[in-house]
Subunit: 211 residues, 2 copies
């Protein structure tokens, strides 16, 4: 094994090694796009042996998914959506989404990730797993009736509901940040929330009172 | 001026010339992507002098927009959505959209156009003008109260409504055809229509009865 990375103080099993790889990957994916990013280049940037990248991550798509997870604090977002009465789920989901995407800190990287997912199959796979498994799937499970088993996989109806919620939010991100349609891009959060909140409420919460 | 195209029977003013350019552009954008497509290459493929491409179209984005317009018969789609009672607008919009996108004839080219729009600013501009000016803007205008002036530009509220309808449909196309989320990609039209029809109804028709 090369002594370079060890000399720089990063060893396998060192939590900082994994973090350094993810940080380097996040920058590389955002700056160079999905295709042009290589695991070797990420290793070099992180100052670790390429074998360590493979030790921690099962390929480029897995590392890409991890950079999205690190960009958005999933536990925090899902927690915000579920905290409070079920009638407010749609509105809280829209507010949480806009809070992350409207922030100048996150937006450039999220945009790069979205573009990568829209043009590369591996990245698309990572995005759909992220959105449904980590975000909207958790919300749907969190909204199951009292007594239901949270470890049960999503039913077909739950999967469709989570997927439709993801589709509206991805469409919003596309129109507001990528295509930059003025009516949607310049709308304030308070203009968007009534419309989009009602949509997400209907998708995510079966039998919601109509708002 | 080169005699080649003339010898092949296409002169300025000949309607077939313009059609030949659009057909060549449609293939080029779909096969090569937006960036790699050149107006010169399109002219060569169409068998016309490059000056003619500039005669008919104000640059690559304008030609791109025209290839989208030719892919989807706009008049037909808007007519289908508006024909019938206002309570059915959302459902008819979703059905019209899925009819075009689910067709094996249109889908590959529409996908290529969507991908181009998501990664290139000029193509994004063409897509947003197409969706709002040609499709959802016309629907919103068609739904104005009796006696309203159809030549008035969209109000801020109308623009937002048209934009949100476009955002849900672009998000659906992304999840169903690009990212290929199984729950959304494998859903039948009759599974999708109740959910998405209600969303488009609420966006497009102010004060719709909730469905």
């Amino acid at each position: 094994m090369s002594t370079g990375p060890v000399a720089r103080g990063r060893r396998p099993g060192d939590g900082r090694t994994r973090d350094a790889i993810v940080r380097a990957a996040r920058t590389a994916f955002a700056d160079q796009g999905y295709d042009a990013t290589s695991l070797r280049g990420i290793a070099r940037e992180a100052g670790v042996d390429p074998a360590l990248v493979h030790h921690y991550f099962d390929g480029k798509a897995a590392l890409f998914a991890e950079t999205m997870r690190i960009e958005v604090d999933v536990r925090d977002v899902v927690g915000q959506i579920l905290a409070g009465d079920p009638e407010g789920v749609g509105e809280r989901a829209v507010r949480a989404f806009l809070r992350v995407w409207d922030s100048p800190e996150h937006r450039p990287r999220l945009l790069a990730l979205l573009r990568a997912a829209l043009t590369h199959d591996e990245a698309a796979r990572a995005l759909r797993e992220f959105l449904v498994r980590e975000i909207f799937g958790r919300v749907v499970v969190g909204l199951r009736p009292v007594g239901a088993d949270p470890s049960e996989p999503l039913s077909a109806d739950e999967g469709l509901r989570a997927g439709l919620a993801a589709s509206q939010m991805i469409g919003l991100a596309t129109m507001r940040y990528v295509v930059v349609l003025p009516a949607v891009a310049q709308a304030g959060v308070e203009d968007l929330v009534p419309h989009l909140g009602a949509t997400l409420q209907r998708y995510l919460v079966p039998g919601s009172p109509q708002v």
